[in-house]
Amino acid sequence: MHPVLKTVLQRLGLGLLTLFVVSVVIFASLEMLPGGFAEAILGQGATPETVAAFNHQVGLDRPATVRYVEWIWNILHGDFGYSYAGMGGSIKRSVSELIAPRLYNTFFLAIMTAIVAVPLSLFLGILAALYRNSWYDRIVNTVTLTTIATPEFFIAYLLMFFFAIRHRWFYSLSTVSDSTPFLEHIYRAALPALTLTLVIVAHMMRMTRASLINLLASPYMEMAQLKGVPRREAIIKHALPNAWAPIATVIAFNLAYLVVGVVVVEVVYVYPGIGQLMVDSVSSRDMPVVQACALIFAATYILLNLSADIVSIVTNPRLLHPK
């Protein structure tokens, strides 16, 4: 079997195992939360009788193990179950139906940000390695460090203040829906994407710079220099291929953040992404939705890490062609 394929299969198997463990952890920790859906919905009106009626209706009066097995069994069949909300009425809302548009919005924003942020940080990082310790290097470092050290909601408010309130170039609200045209979606999501770009560029850019500089000191780079390869070409042709592994890891890490960690930015811009849905569901104890979101987040991490690993194998001949 080809070693790459073998590794991928191995990793996928491990990933499934991880997902299983994660599902247990999610389920157990949600069980431990105080209060329940009935209490959250009924508020002051939560009398023991109404709570019991609610719990019976959504099946919460059965033992946790039974509910877990049922849940995981249904997921294996592609059914995430139904949201607790609306259980009383005639229309049940399936979790997948609830999550799908939110997930689309989240991926939209993540991809939009990644398209800008990844090339930008690679470009800035390579230039910074090329002109190490120059004024350019210092300025890029300082600026990106400042943006990563500033809380994201603060960056968001600053951008909003200048670009949406002072000069009304962009919308301060990024509420989009199914009926929003594609271009308007991009326009509406511009400020959140800019905010996220500012937050993640530093990490990727510094990793690119650091791994390149690390390699510049190695003997084969010296060799390249001695045989007369121009500095720029030496970096792109000789150093970069060897630097891909750590850079890919950092990029994967940041892309995962774009999917799972942007709830603060979503709240500030009122962007209907999946992070908001999850927080909302936690506070209303809509467990099926929370569980599904958590599983999706875990799967995102596992898949992105897997792709980072594949990139490092493919770009490293030693791993690609073992003896």
Partner: protein, 531 residues
Amino acid sequence: MSEFQMKLKAAEKAVGLGKLSRRDFIQFVMASGVTLAAAQAMFSRAARAEPKKGGTFKAAIGHGQTTDSLDPATWSNGFTFAWGKSVMGAPLVQINQKNEVVPHVAESLEPTDGAKKWVVKLRKGITFHNGKPLTADDVVATINYHIGPDSKSPAKGVLSNLTAVKADGPDTVIFELSGGNADFPYLLSDYHLAMYPSEGGKIQWDKGIGAGPYILKSFEPGVKMTAERNPNYFGDTNFDAIELLSIIDVAARTNAYLSGEVHFIDRADLKTIDMLKNAPDTSLYNVSGTALYSAPMLVDQAPFDKLEVRQALKWAINRQELVDKILYGYGSAGNDNMLAPSLKYAIQPEPVYSYDPEKAKALLKKAGMENLKVDLSASDAAFPGGVDAALLMAEQAKAAGIEINVVREPNDSYWDNVWLKKPWSLCYWGGRPTADSFLSISMAADAAWNDTHWKNPRFNELLVAARAETDEAKRQAMYAECQQLMHDDGGQTVLLFNNYVGALNNAVGHGDFNTDFDHDGGYMYERWWLA
């Protein structure tokens, strides 16, 4: 009124109706010596003063969840509650700016048999959004949906005295109560009780089809809802379309307002209200309502079983300071009377509990309880700023020699595990339209939410008697005595009445505001207009 004033009034009216141009109006008033700036201001004011049709009204609401649904039995937050009042729904009655009942889907409501039986005649010619005419059967089905045995609707508690509802012909409905209630029409204004079309005695709410001023266009739970004017609405409304956004984060809500994306935001951030107030073209929506923040003591638990202890604590709290520091002045001090001054029959019981540590000390000495130590369970779940309020109360009570130990309780499950269970806690009440409905759920001996366990026989006797009393003067006297009893003897510490504070763009015209709920009593979508 001078001749000029009369002419001015007529001119203003003409402007409001769009019959007099800006130029003509300004020329007219300037001819009588008014400056240009003043004349322009007068024009914009006049142009807003008369309702105009058209435009899309956009509001950002500080509530709304992904669990929201079109099911009227589940409406409970600021995003959904107005749907039944002035969006898709039309209830039997509305409440006007003076807190009086006005028939709406109903044409008349007549009590018989000592207010135990109410005969409701329906307005003729009302149709639902799908064209189906509204009949007495729809009304009966709607009410039964809420009071049925497996209903989880909050309206079930509101209508707990309703024993039967029957159709009598196509446009008459008869409500039978277990006891007389002169306020029964007020209860029908509840926002859950919007009329829905029925089939075979079951109502159909799943498409949002009601008889109200707006037809539902789109609804994304926790995000947004849009609706368009119902051309066949039997009442009067102004906007062509409305758009409601759910923005929980107060800073995001404020930004949405400042960047001009919405005309109105509710629940403005009081910390920055002075800056918001000075934003261009902005008026504050500042209405003193019936909602209140309280600190109920369980009067059957030590030390609150002693009257002197309760009274000493009442004197040891500086409520005005709480208003100033917790609400930044946007509210008014409570006086241990649950009824807000704007409610009918409300009185201001004497003596007013102002801050008097010496009196508190004297009372404790009389009871032999000097150096009183009590726990106060607090959380921001009870009301925003709850923990701060409790700490402030602890500081104030020190002067009276009382040590209040503030116990910070978790926000989650506050209503299950703390309120109604801990001897002294914090609580929030949304207020109710009538003295009877409010006191019945919060202070009556057998009320599930009697959060002081106060069971004063005289108070309960009066409460029942006043409910069925149709003689206004007698009723007033009974409620006055109720309020005095609750003020003197009860365990309820009413800390303050909070105002509803929001920001409203000057492009929106409106009349006087309702005080019973936020959002102009829930009627803003129907009553406001864009000038």
